[in-house]
Amino acid sequence: MLGLIRPTSGTIELGVNKSEIRVVPDFPILPKHLNVDQWYDTLEDLYGPVKRNIDLQTIMRLNGRWKLKDLSAGQTRLAALMPIFFGRPQLIIMDEPTNFLDVVIRERILNLIKEQLVQTKSKVIIASHRTDEIELFASEIILQSRGKIVGNVSLKHDASLGYHVRVNDFDTFEKVLKKHNMPFEQTTTLMGKTLKINDLGRLWGPLNDFTAKGGILFNLSAIGTLQSHIGDLSS
């Protein structure tokens, strides 16, 4: 797409001028001799000014005098994300865009990118290992494994596929659920042991009994379509 690698066969027609494409690679090699201000000026010169009324450097907490070669991994990632906000991009290609960012700035940057996409109506190609990032930008998701399409997920009608419940005392909670004839399934997630239930409407009674016995509810979360597909693939 970027003309970096010769195609073995076929063509890709993007219908977008090359100057309207912004790329944020996994390991961006920025011109290290420049400082943040000079990098900002270079981008302005290449793509035109930032169209929105935002102060990028303040939001990204990047001092103009800092040399790009001295930036930390997170700051380098922010500097690499800067081109997205200049001019009117029509296609944005991002590879792991929020790697190395701390949670606070990550949230802020994702919101900024989302707003930028809405305003410029640009298309996005994103490669990410974070499902929340993908869900933020996409309504249709294609899952690939070793170059083959292994799943097609639509997030337009996100029918709930059940809920994950995490509590402090699983034995007591399971007894309470059995007492209420509530079906459940034991699963293991990254967070540890969880119980999967399907009927949220019937959960409140057992939950009330459980908390009355001194139990604590840690987490209750809906299982998304994408999450479910990925779960199916891994199992």
């Binding site: 003309g3 970096l4 010769r6 090359k18 790329v23 090699i29 011109p31 290449l46």
Partner: protein, 263 residues
Amino acid sequence: MSSESLTLNDILKAVEKKFVHYEKKLGIRTEKKAAENLMFHTNAHMSMILLPLYFGLIAYLFRGNAINVDLGQFSLRLTTFQENNLFTYALFFKIGILVILTYYVTYHWTEIKRDNTYGYWLASGVDRMKFFIYVILGLLSNLIFSMIFGLIIVNSYNSQIFTLGEFVIVIALIISNMIFLTGLAFFVSESINHPEASGFIFALISAISISNTNYDSISNKLFLSELHYNSADTMLILIFSNIIGITLILLSYFLHRRKDINL
């Protein structure tokens, strides 16, 4: 009533603005920025471009030989002496060019592809063809202007030993020589993907060829073409150097275009 005076800074800014305007009109602004950041980004790089001029002038000014006035045919000896002075300038200028080409083209040009910096700029909208042409023309024009500038100084200082006709032929021969050397450097660089190896091979070929003192050999005619300014095959050397140089540049571009660049 206040009067606004035009400062040098204002004039420079206006000139720069005009340049930017024409660069945008020609569609080479991105390529220029890329070249500035990839090829000529430090003050050391900028001043390195003038290395051949420094080499040539220093060699000319500090040439240790003196004319022997005890013997007859003084006029002929003086002419030969002055001619040798000029060719000393040209030779050392060329050694400077070879140093620059070894560094910029055979080493650095390959290195930017290896360390992915070129890939980043290509992904940022740089056109390969325009960038290739911009770098070659930028490099050649810098070298040609500094060579002509130096040669004019040396020729004036040297009692204008060459007539205008001879002077033009010498300049044309050196320019064709530069085109040949630039073509060779790019070809070696594009053929061998290892920066250190391509730099070494180009330096080795150049060093062997430039030290060849056999006046009738092809390498002498190609690498030290200015020495043949008044020989019977001057035009042949001129045309041949240009054709080989341009062919090598075109071949390098063809190889460059086919190359996969990492990001």
